[in-house]
């Protein structure tokens, strides 16, 4: 006799604009269906932005997400620049690229750490968070803030990178790269992780395209897209770097893509610092004319998309914000069905939503009685890794 139990996951998730609630339906260990519901932290940013001036809109979208707090502003200013045909000085373009890549580094590092924790690799968790510190220090030097950088404005950036800061930035990047080498070795050469993550939560290329998945989620399924290369902005078309793709579509592929992308980001930052021309950092545009504009930027999780319509006044008539996770989340349904409960945490983590959601994870049976909470689920996941280790002779 089959017994279907329901597992509610969520809903609270205070860091991103997309808190979510999952209801997993399980039969024994196997996930047979999942329903997703979001909206618990819906703050009405789009409506709010219509009541603000354009400068304030940039300020507001910076607060959408704490981790990618420069991806939304850059998308927003690019939408406004597209709307008004506003030119940006070269130096500002390079600075934009540097800030974007620093943000990607610290975001991917966070992800690696948390993925490690879910798998029972708590050393990786500690490393990830510790070795992201140099990046936050560089951010503080460049922008004045560890988070919420307030660097972007229509027509340029707000702060210049001082010449005397460059050697410091390069030293800290060296330090970061050394640790990154160590992390890559520890993670990608680990036979247990290969056994644990390969073939888990596979998103096929066809499905990734149908769901219009973005960023590392799509690239790990062999979809070769990256806004930085395909729709060049900032200074990405002036430096050499490559888009990392993997054909497999499983959790391991997503991990490989993120780790290898960090090397590309470091390389982009070095080249930008080297090539950055002297000159103004702001073209000081005065007005936003009537019209409509679209902005795109590659956030750490994929393409960020803003649409802004203006009637010539000083606030937008419509400001549409689409974060990458909005497109990536529905793929969770494709990847988790047929997998075991102990893999559900890492499959969800692999699309890199914010993790607070899983803190609220809870399993109940069909009489709504609690079976497991999040600690229990993480323990299940870690236990599976441990068993695998024993089986493979690592103790």
């Amino acid at each position: 006799m089959s017994h279907k139990a329901h597992i509610p996951i969520g809903p609270y998730h205070p860091l991103q604009e997309e808190p979510e609630f999952y209801k997993l339906v399980v039969e024994g260990e196997k996930v047979v269906d999942v329903d997703v519901r979001i909206g618990w932290n819906h703050r009405g940013i789009e409506k709010l932005s219509e009541a603000k001036t354009f400068d304030q809109s940039i300020f507001i979208v910076e607060r959408i997400c704490g981790i990618c707090s420069s991806s939304h502003p850059i998308t927003c200013v690019q939408a406004l620049e597209d709307l008004g045909g506003i030119k940006v000085p070269d130096r500002a373009l390079y600075i934009r690229s540097i800030v974007q890549e620093l943000e990607r580094l610290h975001s991917h590092m966070l992800w690696a750490g948390l993925a490690g924790h879910f798998l029972g690799y708590n050393t990786v968790f500690m490393w990830g968070w510790k070795y992201r510190e140099p990046i936050c220090d560089i951010m503080e030097t460049v922008t004045g803030n560890r988070q919420n950088y307030a660097m972007l404005k229509v027509g340029g950036v707000r702060r210049d990178i001082e010449k005397e800061h460059v050697p410091y930035i390069l030293t800290r990047l060296d330090e970061f790269t050394r640790h990154l080498d160590m992390l890559r070795g520890a993670v990608l050469d680990d036979p247990v992780l290969h056994a644990r993550l390969k073939g888990v939560g596979v998103l096929t290329k066809e499905r990734a395209i149908d769901y219009a998945a973005l960023g590392p989620t799509a690239r790990a399924s062999g979809v070769d897209i990256d806004v930085r290369r395909d729709h060049p902005y900032a200074a990405y078309d002036r430096v050499k770097w490559k888009v990392i793709t993997q054909p497999e579509g499983d959790v391991f592929a997503k991990m490989v893509v993120r780790i290898m992308e960090m090397y590309e980001s470091v390389s982009i930052i070095r080249q930008c610092l080297d090539k950055m021309p002297a000159g103004p950092i702001d073209s000081n545009p005065k007005d936003i004319p009537p019209g409509e504009g679209i902005g795109q930027a590659e956030a750490p999780r994929g393409e960020c998309f803003h649409y802004i319509k203006s009637d010539g006044s000083n606030s937008p008539v419509r400001h549409k914000v689409r974060a990458p996770t909005y497109m990536n989340f529905p793929t969770f349904r494709e990847t988790v069905i047929g997998q075991t409960v102990s893999d559900a945490t890492i499959i969800l983590a692999a699309i890199d939503p914010c993790y607070c959601c899983t803190e609220r994870m809870l399993i109940v049976d069909k009489d709504d009685k609690d079976l497991f909470d999040i600690q229990e689920l993480i323990r299940l996941s870690q236990e599976k890794t441990l068993k695998l280790k024993e089986k493979m002779g690592f103790k």
Binding site: G39, K47, D82, G85, E292, R318, R322
Partner: protein, 155 residues
Amino acid sequence: MKIDDILSDIRNKFGSKVIKAEKKNEKRAYVDIYPKDIVLLTKYMFKELGLRFAIATAVDDFDAIEVLYHFAEDASGFVVSLRAIIKEKEDPHIDTITGVTRSAWWIEREMHELFGIHFDGNTDLRPLLLPDDWPTGVYPLRKNFIVPKRDSRKA
């Protein structure tokens, strides 16, 4: 494929179905269409040309509701937006495109609750963002929706 090629292709292929097709700049184009042709055009953009569905935006334009479907072309790097203009603002209807691409699943639910647009053929239009006790018939992103003042004396 170049942006001009796609625009002339659309004009040739769909003729009178296209109200206006114009290029804003080298990276952006807007094509105005009638709502009844949206599935046809989406099939052409998504399936035939293989463009990526970026997102859809609904706009309350005072005398009509506009729905923009943004399609990104990642090989040459531009965005073509289909603009379906729905004149019946009181009860706007348009066909669903979820039959063509699953990626429109969430955004149709969102536009349904925030703008009151009915996507004919979409069976899953449950609320996505608003709370379960949100009153029916109140659409917060419409221009006639006034954000209620919060009384600071209440907790």
